[in-house]
Structure formats: C-alpha cells, structure tokens
Symmetry: C2
Subunit: 240 residues, 2 copies
Amino acid sequence: MDGKPSFPLGPSSLTEALYESVRKRIVNGDIAPGEKLTEIRIANEYSVARPTAKACLERLTALGLLRRTTHKTAVVPKLDEAEIRDLYFSRETVERAAVVALARAGTVPPEAVRAQAAMRAAAGDAAQHGSDQGSHAGAFATQVEADIAFHSALVAAVGSRRLARMHEVILGEVHLTMGQFQAHRTTDPMNVAHEHDDILKAIGDGDPERAQQCLAHHLDQAQGRLLGQLRRERSEEAHA
Amino acid sequence: MDGKPSFPLGPSSLTEALYESVRKRIVNGDIAPGEKLTEIRIANEYSVARPTAKACLERLTALGLLRRTTHKTAVVPKLDEAEIRDLYFSRETVERAAVVALARAGTVPPEAVRAQAAMRAAAGDAAQHGSDQGSHAGAFATQVEADIAFHSALVAAVGSRRLARMHEVILGEVHLTMGQFQAHRTTDPMNVAHEHDDILKAIGDGDPERAQQCLAHHLDQAQGRLLGQLRRERSEEAHA
DNA sequence: TAAGGCAAAATCGTCAGACAAGTATACTCG
DNA sequence: CGAGTATACTTGTCTGACGATTTTGCCTTA
C-alpha cells in the first residue's frame, strides 16, 4: 500500500472494513443503482489487491447488495415491483417467526427497545429540521438505521443463529430499497414508531397472534410506501 | 495444473466443481465431523491455487457446512441438540411459508412429485437390499438426496428467489446432519414417503392449515429421529 | 443511417510466489 | 506438572502474470 487510498480504512481488519465501507456507499446511494462496480475500481479506490476487492464483491453479492454472474461486472440492483413483493414476503416469513417466538415467551428485547428510542429521537430530529435539508438527510439516515436495528434486534433476540442468518440474507436488500426509494419520507416517522410500539406491546402482552398481525400491518405499510414511490418514479421517467 | 489431482474435477467451471466435490465429501462423511480442512490441504488435494481453495472454504462456511473464523482453520461441525432444534425451527419457518403459499394456490409442484417418486424408488431399493450392506448405503444416500430434493422443490415452487436463498442457507446443515447421524435408518423409508404424500395431498386440496400441520409433523418426526440418534451416540461414547 | 462483424481494450478467473500476522504445537525449564 | 518460549503451521493479503470472457469502438456493408 504505497498510495493514498481515496476511502481510508480504519483499524479493524482490512476485509471487514472494506466490506463495511462499500456496503455503506451502496446503501446510501453513493454508488447508485445500475452502477457497475469492478474489482479494479474497488482495488484502485481503496488501494487493496484485486483478490481482496474480489472477495468483497463476492460477499456483497451473497448478501443481495450486488448482482454478479460469472465473468461479468457486478452491478448495484434496482428492485422492481415483483422483487419488492418477494422481498417483503420473505422478510415477513422470518420476522413473523421471530415475533411469534418472542410473544410466546413474553420477551421484549432490550435492543429493540433501544432501537425504538433511537428511532423516536431521529423522528424528533426530522421534525425539528424539517426546513433544513442537510440535517434532514442525516436524520433520515438515522431513522433507516434505527428501523433496521429494531427489526434485527427482534430476530436476534430469538437466539436462533440460523434465523438470524436467514434474516441477514435479505437485510441487505431491505436496507438497499430503503436507501434507494427513500419511501420513509412519504410518511410521518412517528407513524412508524407507533407501529413498532404496537409490535412491542403485543410481544410484552404475550400475544403471538396480535404480534404477527401488527408486524404484518407494519410491513404492509412499508411495502406500500415503497411500491408507491416506485410508481411515482416510473411515472416521472415516462414524462421525462 | 501440472499434477494429477487426487479428486479430479469435471468439465464445469473449476470453482463450481471444486465446491460441489468438497461439499459432497463433507455431507457423505468422507471429511468427517470435527475434521479440520485447511486451504493448503484442499489446494494440494485438488491441485488448485490457495486463493481458489480459500474461496471454496468461504463458500462452504457461508452455507453452514464448515465453521471458520478469522485466522483459524475451517472445521466440519457436529451439531449438538440445541443446534438441531434451532436448525429445525428455522427450517420449519421457511418450509411452512412455502407449503402455505402452495396450498393457497392449490399448486402441487411437479418437481416435488418427481422427488417423491425417486424417494419411493429408493425406499423400495432399501427394502430389497436390506441384507446387502453395500447397496444399502447407496440406497440410503439416494433417499437422503430425494428427501432434500422434495423439500427444495416445495420451496422453489413458490417462485420466491429470496425464500429459496434463505432455505439454501440452512440446507447445507440439514444435509450434513442427515449424513452424520443417518437417523433415516431408524425408520421405515415408507413412513417418510407417506408423510410427504400427506403434505402433497393437503397442498393439492388447497388446505394451508392441514399442509402446515403435516409439514410440522413430518419435521418433528425427522428432528426426533436425529435427537434420538444423537442421544444413542452420546450414550455409546459414555460407555467407551 | 442502421446493422453486423471484427479487433482491441477491459474485466474477470485463476495461478505462482512471497511476506506478514496469528495460532497451534513442541520443547525446555522450574 | 505447568508455564514460558521457540518453532512450525496456517491464514491474510499482496504483487505480478497469463488465459478466458465480455464489452466497446471502429469500420464496412446494405
């Protein structure tokens, strides 16, 4: 490493830091949907060896954040309507199993409560800076992270390593769509926070049926916002 | 490649063939539970470059067939009771979603029917060669493959790429436990075939509730056989 | 002008060889 | 026997290279 890397890596292990950095850039739209991501580009931008860049791309591909087939350049996907539906169907499969298990145990995960508090704080920030576009973007990113953290915490709290791994397989795409479509902007963040509260309450009350209903409603709403935004973008393209 | 590889690779792409070969050796016990699997060993046994061996091990690790952490040698896992329970919990999460979706559509997957026929044929072979240990092992392996194919076909028939990917994450371990514990031997293969028939019938009848009950029963039975075998092995070890 | 073909460039797949870092094993000493 | 140290082994990452595949650009033809 004799060059000055464009995206400096921190003190943690190289491949881990590389993966995290590229992942973040994909999720936040810095590397845009449809954009090609070559091993050589990553190797140059981060001053790492090409095999290291390759491993990074392979990992991102395995987690749905990139699409890549043999002998072709990786590309950041943009999900269409059918894919969003499939994503949310699969998401619900995993997360329903999680909330049902938690409700049966009557176990409210502290991490989910913490993520919910972070979500409320971010929602408050968003309302406060409504007229300040720069801080608005920051608060929005925090909302997304808190939302992801909430759902991840629910799944993680079940204590099933395999359920968590299956969740991870789709979480990249979930995160990607939230970044790409920014559909969160089309609703009051407090609505999302209320839906989370409903889920937590049903879990705490030991009511598996209600827990899964609240979750299904919440995910339906989220999916609906994404699909609405997708249709808006498609209609804007048709007029351009 | 100037040496003669110990395990010759076919005409398909190198990394794919390597992965398949090592995966099969792990599943059939040729590379035994607890056994360490170094990059250097794979590179030598297959006459490939070490990075190629590394990529193979990483892929097997991602799919649960190996355990590997940073700076340590990969090892074939042997699942304990808690892990088998977790595996079957997660398996049921995915497969229940699949049979419910299929039953709602009243769609019996032709591939599942085909796998079921293969299973019956293998069960017939097992009964016929009951006293011939060599062919018995072959028929057993075919039963396992047919069983896996049946369940995979159910999930694949939903047409959800993400559900299939989540299933794949656990399928390696499912396959691994079946090979390691050979618990299939502790029941008449026709019992398994009947349980598959029940699932298919419920799907064909468009009865989601019955489909998931039949599946749950089937997986409970399978899990019970595995746990029974695990306890038998543990008690044999205690006496050795 | 548009389409097709071909050559060059770009990218990916895999390799050999090497050095650094981390872990495991063996040996020695108290 | 246990602890510490040295050595061996393995993994992480790199450089440089060759071969294979895909993409791009240019030229020719209809």
